[in-house]
């Protein structure tokens, strides 16, 4: 494991908790690897979008997908940076099951100098039966701080997304 990924494992939960809106919804850090990020969103009645079915709002799924894409982009850029979402496409395959935790898994499959391209899936237990899939593009809005394997102190640890 690279020093950067090791660092991400260490500060991943703080990166998510340090994002007020992710924290408000109850988003949790699950796992990270090079270009990969997994987050979860436990069911909560405050997230309900349709009072009749008690299914959580599409917007709550949007947020956990956006957040996982941003984290995967940081892992894909292989450095800490300020990022902004450029575009987000979400397809809702089915309603999330009321009471179940949403798992969002994001893969950053390509980075250029300024842009990261990410695909993500949200499911509620069975990855083969997703609730929603997403495609996102994120842009670097500031300098990229690389963590090299022999230098563990980067000086900067910014990594929030918008």
């Amino acid at each position: 494991m690279s020093a950067f990924i090791e660092k991400l494992w260490e500060i991943g939960p703080a990166l998510v908790d340090g994002t007020p809106h992710a924290r408000e919804l109850g988003v949790k850090f699950v796992a990270i690897d090079k270009g990969l990020a997994t987050l979860s969103l436990p069911y909560n009645v405050e997230l309900i979008g349709d009072p009749r079915s008690r299914v959580i709002a599409g917007g709550a799924v949007t947020t956990v997908l956006d957040q996982s894409c941003g984290l995967a982009a940081i892992a894909g850029f292989d450095g800490f940076a300020q990022l902004a979402t450029l575009s987000l496409r979400i397809d809702y395959q089915r309603s999330a099951t009321p009471g179940k935790t949403i798992i969002a898994e994001a893969v950053c499959y390509k980075t250029t100098r300024h842009v990261a391209f990410i695909r993500a899936t949200a499911h509620d237990g069975n990855p083969e039966d997703p609730v929603a899939t997403a495609q996102a593009a994120f842009m670097l809005t500031g300098p990229l701080y690389k963590v090299t394997d022999d230098v563990t102190n980067t000086g900067k640890t910014e990594g929030q997304t918008t």
């Binding site: 007020p20 405050e46 979008g49 902004a84 809702y92």
Partner: protein, 136 residues
């Protein structure tokens, strides 16, 4: 549409209450308002609103406008949405308005614009397909 009916529509959605969404009826449609709340921030250092909060706000706007047109039916369900982020969401009040671009029998195409200082400077835009509920 009275302010009370508008409030009831928004207050029936727990997620919209969590975001702090308010609505007014003006110019023949709903005007949604997202007051600035710290809990909607995505990047505290800039600061900027969370992309998910802006996206969720615009989705609520689309569904509320569809519901306003057929209040006796349940909420429409999103099938797919495209969200473009155009400007940083500053920590101020945000507005949104939905335009039913194409109304079908089962599916409607909706476009939403979100702005802060001025309507002609959108901070984000959403376009999406929504599955309309069947009349019983």
């Amino acid at each position: 549409m009275t302010q009370r009916l508008t409030d009831d529509l928004i207050n029936s959605i727990p997620y919209a209450k969590m975001l702090g969404v308010k609505a007014e009826f003006s110019d023949g449609g709903l005007l949604l308002i997202l007051p600035y709340l710290k809990s909607n921030i995505g990047n505290p250092t800039l600061p900027a609103l969370h992309g998910g909060a802006i996206g969720g706000f615009m989705e609520v706007c689309a569904m509320a406008e569809l519901r306003r047109r057929a209040p006796e039916l349940p909420f429409a369900k999103p099938i797919g949405v495209n969200i473009d982020y155009l400007r940083r969401g500053k920590p101020v009040e945000t507005f949104a308005r939905a335009d039913i671009f194409k109304e079908g029998a089962r599916v409607s195409n909706v476009r939403v614009r979100a702005w802060q200082e001025s309507e002609d400077k959108p901070i984000a835009a959403l376009s999406g397909h929504f599955l309309l509920p069947k009349a019983k």
